[in-house]
């Protein structure tokens, strides 16, 4: 096994080892030790990943190319490591020479390496932070047990070489997320949030399974590069004829792509399955930083990155629409939230929307680049908010804060750095990390607009550029609002202010992440590595399919066949990219300044300006609408209630008329409906979780209606079934 793959495998297994150890003797190890062990394990993973990165960049161990007198180019002429293993024979017989196997495997390219480095780095920092943050929690060892399992699953997801593995680890990270959201299960809201996350993700997974099923049906469980090779032409939107002669219709390809993408919609909390992520903030804050900001929710983007070559134009359009909807909606909702973690949660949604949008528009590098930079500054924001919450004795409401910069300066400053990073701070072409990645996405969006225009598409395609542009301003504004309300102004809760103080062990991760947030865009070479990732994968595929250009198909321009051996790019021709970049520069060049300036002015002194402003009725209505998260939860709940009502009406009818005979009349039915109506009133705002639970419960009541415990009822139902069956069958067969 090649060295990088081996190192990454070790990095994956280390957290599993810590999980296993902690599972059995974690409680005996006690409060600091369990955390230290877990941190050492994930730290080991980080070291392994870094060594793997070094080896990957330069197998020879030399960083200087003496022949050309230059530093060796990033990722030049690498071959991805693709190691498939036959795991399960499916279907065909043992006597066959070559049975159809369900493959598992390891696939390592630059993207894998980048993801590993990012995940292990953020996870290590979060582990260190958690040792301080969770110190007083009685279930301290269990927390680290779960974290270990999570890290293992997340790394396993990234290293997996087939979609099947992706799905397996996908479910595992979902399970960890469920366990960690519900970590403080004594809180009803926490355990409800956990269930909500679980259910919502199942919906997404169902879509994923459908897509997976279609893929599976046509190709079997193939490794990632094989999948790209076989379906690499999906971007053209034609039917694809497989080697076996089976035609894979374009429409089905689109359905498959959308289905697979639905998994990402669930995990990355995209519209319309976004409702779980804000509630997931009920979990401990380090968990929010690690899972619900930096890694797991970004797994959706990673997935789209992996299936990118097999997305048809239709599927890409769907992806882009989802992304743009989410980023707009979430940013608006974030404007009105008062809980510091909710603000960050919606900001996460919005940034994920950007990544998904980038994927949909064909900017593979942009989306994944933003994933990495976002992981740094959003983890920083969450850890910062954790520090604030820790200092404020678990008070999370912005109106209770104010002026905290004087008490917790390190947190305040690092948080400020993160705000600048997410706002896209830049001067003279140099900026914090968020600037580079977001600009790349927006520039591509601009180029996309021009391309759409030139290929005669509707002008609505320009929305993919203008909405994110506007939201760039909004982002800077709401993040500034969050910072100002927390750290600036006069203390609004004197008691809280007096007792606030920082824990030193939490500084190190904050500072480290702050540094990464500053330099992550330009100096770590992330985008170069990603660029080389495309090149590697493309070259690997071209060894078999000479015309492969799965990562580079520009759309919505009409499909053009690429020439053999052309340099693969993620974008269209360079002049259109230039035009897009120029347009972006005009539109959002100073967005960070406008947003931050406006935020600073309005929230200069707490709510003194913003308060009266929102009293103005139209603004207030909008504020309430946004504050209540556009009523999505209520909408979903009403739909559930409608279904439940219909079902219970059916079951009541069944119960009353068929089972008990007509004897009891409609009284019971009326009573039941009335009861349900009352129930509806009482619980209608209690979240969609209850809805699902009740749905199953009512369904259960319906099917259990005959299970009255009366043997004669059983026999009667049986006999009626026999009678109907017999009579029906006989009549049908006789009438032929």
């Amino acid at each position: 096994m090649p060295t990088p793959a081996l190192l990454l495998l070790i990095a994956t297994l280390l957290p599993l080892a810590s999980f296993t150890i902690l599972l059995f003797i974690g409680k005996r190890m006690g409060t600091p030790l369990a955390g230290v062990l877990a941190t050492l394990a994930i730290g080991g993973s980080f070291v392994c990943s870094m060594i793997a990165l070094m080896v990957w960049l330069n197998p020879s161990g030399q960083y200087f190319d003496p022949s050309r007198q230059t530093m060796i180019e990033w990722g030049a002429n690498k071959n991805p490591i693709n190691l498939p293993y036959q795991w399960v024979p499916i279907g065909p017989g043992i006597q066959q020479d070559h049975p159809n196997f369900m493959d598992v495997g390891i696939y390592v390219d630059s993207l894998t390496i980048v993801m590993f480095s990012m995940i292990t780095l953020v996870a290590t920092l979060v582990h260190i932070f958690s040792i301080g943050y969770m110190r007083e929690d009685p279930r301290f060892p269990r927390f680290f047990t779960y974290l270990g399992l999570f890290c293992f699953s997340m790394l396993g997801l990234v290293i997996g070489g087939t979609l099947l593995q992706l799905f397996i680890f996908w479910e595992l990270v979902g399970l960890c997320s469920y366990l960690l959201i519900g970590f403080w299960y004594e809180k009803k809201s926490a355990s409800n949030a956990a269930i909500k996350a679980f259910i919502t993700n199942r919906v997404g997974d169902f879509g994923f399974l459908i897509g997976f099923g279609i893929l599976f049906y046509h190709l079997g469980n193939v490794t990632l590069p094989k999948m790209w090779m076989l379906l690499g032409d999906a971007g053209f939107g034609h039917d694809i004829t497989l080697a076996s002669g089976v035609i894979f219709p374009a429409g089905l390809l689109t359905v498959m792509g959308v289905g697979l993408f639905f998994g990402a919609v669930g995990k990355s909390a995209q519209f319309p399955l976004h409702v779980w992520l804000p509630d997931a903030m009920e979990g401990p804050t380090p968990v929010s930083a690690l899972i619900h900001a930096a890694t797991m929710v970004a797994a959706g983007v990673y997935l789209v990155g992996r299936i990118f070559p097999i997305l048809t134009p239709g599927a890409k359009l769907f992806v882009a629409i989802t992304g743009v909807t989410t980023l707009t909606m979430a940013a608006l909702i974030a404007l009105a939230q008062t809980d510091i973690k909710k603000v960050l949660a919606y900001s996460t949604l919005s940034q994920l929307g950007y990544m998904i949008l980038a994927m949909g528009l064909g900017s593979w590098i942009g989306g994944l680049f933003h994933l990495i930079t976002h992981a740094f500054f959003k983890a920083l924001l969450f850890l910062g908010s954790g520090s604030v919450i820790h200092a404020a004795h678990h008070e999370q409401e912005l109106p209770q804060y104010g002026g905290l910069i004087r008490k917790i300066p390190v947190t305040g400053i690092t948080f400020g750095v993160a705000v600048l990073a997410i706002a896209g701070f830049s001067i003279a072409g140099w900026g914090f990390s968020g600037f580079y990645s977001k600009d790349m996405i927006l520039a591509h969006a601009g180029a996309f607009g021009y391309l759409a225009e030139s290929s005669g598409k509707s002008s609505a395609y320009w929305l993919f550029f203008y909405l994110p542009t506007i939201i760039a301003y909004v982002t800077a504004f709401y993040m500034t609002r969050c910072w100002m309300l927390t750290f600036a102004g006069k203390p609004r809760n004197q008691h809280l202010y007096d007792h606030a103080r920082e824990a030193p062990i939490m500084w190190a991760p904050l500072v480290a992440l702050a540094v990464l947030s500053v330099i992550g865009g330009k100096y770590l070479g992330v985008s170069e590595l990603l660029q080389s990732g495309i090149r590697e994968s493309t070259q690997y595929c071209r060894a078999v399919v000479p015309k492969f250009d799965g990562f580079g198909t520009a759309w919505p321009a009409e499909a053009t066949t690429t020439t053999e051996g052309a340099e693969p790019t993620a974008a269209a021709s360079s002049d259109i990219m230039e035009k897009g970049h120029e347009l972006m520069h005009h539109c959002v060049g100073w967005a960070w300044l406008v947003g931050i300036g406006l935020g600073v002015i309005i929230y200069w002194n707490g709510y003194s300006i913003a308060g009266p402003l929102t009293k103005f009725p139209p603004v207030n209505y909008v504020r309430i609408w946004l504050y209540r998260r556009m009523y999505f939860d209520e909408l979903y709940f009403s739909v559930f209630v409608a279904i439940v009502m219909a079902l219970s009406w059916l079951s009541a009818t069944f119960d009353k008329y068929i089972i008990d005979g007509i004897v009891n009349g409609v009284g019971g039915l009326v009573k039941r409906t009335a009861f349900l109506a009352g129930w509806n009133d009482r619980y209608v705002v209690d979240g969609a979780v209850n809805g699902v639970a009740t749905l199953s419960q009512e369904l259960g009541a319906a099917v259990r209606a005959p299970q009255t415990g009366r043997i004669r009822m059983y026999v009667t139902v049986l006999m009626v079934a026999i009678g109907l069956g017999l009579a029906g069958a006989i009549i049908v067969t006789l009438s032929r």
Binding site: P89, Q95, N100, I168, S191, R202, L209, A243, I711, L726
Partner: protein, 542 residues
């Protein structure tokens, strides 16, 4: 070694070497009968009769298991014996092996749960009944003669009725056995009526002959044939507890002691499924079905598939509000039987018709065998934990599982593994089994896709109620004291959990084994129409 093997596969009479006509193929059954008699005699020589009987029964079952392995793998025993009344084929051998293994597990489970509360002196009766029912089930799996079907179903049922009410002073036990016997008597009598019609239509009791007559003989009434098949389905549906013949199942499982519930949950249903499998297979494998006027196999397939999907839906939804763990597991077992029935419906697809698979029946058989094997372990594990908790707390209420993760972590972990496996989530073999099943349905295409959707939705539904138990164990607190469970019970449930993980990792050997058996059964290799696409020849149409 050879001597031992000879002793086991030719019990008590030397010289039964003739594999074609001798009793040798039925050495496992003979060992069971020996054990039944021995269990009745042993108490006269010992004072601790319960334990002695358990040991005797264990010995008999182990001998039967070994005999199954030896006889089943030797040449020349496959085929029908005793004028077609009993058959030995790979599916039978596989199922018998599973069954005996499972009953051994049940007896071990009995030792650490119910045996403590059983009166000294009741052991002989208990084990006579248990072994008798086991004998019935193993015969159910190895016959395709109408009379023998009836006999073996009765032999499996009658002792089970008594077992359900074995705790005589328990009111729920008495009620459970009353419901069981009434329901069973009604369904079996209707079945006999149906069988008599089958005999009347074709004049034979052999299912193969019958299938042959159906397709080649003179056209008789399809209406009466429907009646007859209906009757047969009712009798077997009762054993499988398919909707609407499932009513007894939750009540009996709740009322019976936990080892009996566990026994019925796998053994009885498995035997019914294998019986149904053989009948459907025999019907389907007879050629020229399109010659039969007015009735098509696909209609029967649709009926089986629809019953299967209704069964799993009913099982899963009804389980949702249960508070009694045994009742919950009862509904869950209904659901799992439903999943397997869904795959059974595939047996009836004609070769190559509307399907990508050249031999869907063999693939479906493989999926069912694998599911059964995995299901056995997850159910045994879950029931054992439930039994241990019952012994400790005297309660079967899910509320008494609160805080189990703290009170008895290893036990809770075993339960967790089994439940997650029952849902069908990845780290456990339940995932393998379900995925395999769904995959088979998927490959067969056509309206079987709808069954996949049903199974998928059901998997989501089932997650809710299994998670209720998990949630109670890990996310809720209680003041109940911590306890250390019986080590034997812990060993059983732990072994089941570990096996579930190993089966996932060893998916390949497991798949190969079941594949091997199903192929032996069908006597030929099957080839998938879709070959693994070749890397070098991928082309795209423009």
């Amino acid at each position: 070694m050879n001597l031992l093997a000879a002793a086991i596969d030719r019990p008590f009479i030397p010289g039964w070497a003739d594999p074609a006509n001798g009793l040798r193929p039925f050495a496992p059954e003979l060992w069971l009968i020996v054990a039944i008699v021995a269990v009745l005699i042993v108490p006269f020589f010992t004072r601790r009769s319960n334990l002695a009987c358990a040991a005797t029964a264990l010995f008999g079952l182990i001998a039967a298991l070994l005999a199954t392995m030896i006889v089943g793998t030797s040449d020349g025993v496959v085929g029908s014996h005793f004028r077609g009344l009993l058959v030995v084929d790979p599916v039978t051998v596989f199922f018998k092996g599973l069954l005996f293994l499972f009953v051994i597990g049940i007896i071990l489970m009995w030792l650490c749960t119910t045996s403590m509360s059983m009166h000294e002196g009741d052991g002989p009766e208990f084990f006579t009944l248990l072994l008798g029912a086991t004998l019935g089930m193993s015969l159910m799996a190895s016959t395709s003669n109408l009379l023998m079907i009836f006999m073996s179903v009765e032999l499996a049922s009658l002792p089970s009725y008594v077992l359900a009410g074995f705790r005589k002073t328990h009111r729920v036990g008495a009620e459970a056995s009353l419901k069981y016997v009434l329901f069973g008597a009604v369904t079996s009598s209707v079945m006999v009526y149906g069988l008599s019609m089958l005999y009347g239509l074709y004049g034979t009791l052999q299912v193969e002959e019958l299938a042959h007559q159906m397709t080649t003989g003179s056209a008789t009434s399809v209406a009466l044939l429907t009646v007859a098949i209906f009757g047969l389905l009712i009798g077997i549906g009762f054993k499988i507890s398919a909707v609407p013949f499932h009513f007894w199942c939750p009540d009996v499982f709740e009322g019976a002691s936990i080892d009996v519930s566990a026994f019925l949950s796998v053994a009885s249903k498995g035997a019914g499924l294998v019986l149904l499998l053989r009948i459907l297979m025999t019907l389907a494998s007879t050629a020229h079905w399109h010659n039969v006027p007015g009735i098509s196999l696909s209609a029967v397939a649709i009926v089986v598939g629809v019953i299967g999907s209704i069964t799993c839906t009913v099982g899963n939804t009804a389980a949702y509000v249960q508070t009694n763990i045994k009742r919950l597991l009862a509904y869950s077992s209904i659901a799992h039987a439903g999943y397997m029935m869904c795959a059974l419906s595939m047996l009836l697809i004609g070769k190559g018709a509307e399907s990508d698979l050249k031999d869907p029946a063999s693939v479906a058989t493989q999926a069912i065998l694998l599911y059964l094997a995995v299901y056995l372990f997850m159910n045994l594990g879950a029931f054992t934990v439930a039994g241990l908790v019952y012994r400790q707390t005297g309660s079967e209420d899910i509320r008494d599982y609160r805080g189990l993760g703290r009170r008895s972590p290893v036990l809770a972990l075993c339960m967790f593994c089994c439940l997650v496996s029952l849902i069908g989530l990845p780290p456990f073999a339940g995932f393998v089994a379900k995925l395999n099943l769904m995959w088979v349905l998927f490959r067969s295409g056509g309206w079987w896709i709808a069954l996949i959707v049903v199974i998928g939705v059901n998997t989501i539904l089932s997650a809710f109620y299994y998670f209720r138990v998990i949630r109670a164990m890990y996310l809720e607190n209680s003041d109940a004291p911590a306890f250390f469970p019986n080590p034997l019970g812990l060993a059983i449930s732990g072994a089941c959990s570990v096996l579930l993980v190993l089966m996932l990792l060893g998916w390949s050997p497991l798949g190969r084994m079941t594949d091997y058996f199903s192929h032996l059964y069908f006597g030929s290799a099957t080839v998938l129409v879709h070959e693994q696409p070749d890397m070098s020849s991928a082309t795209a149409s423009r």
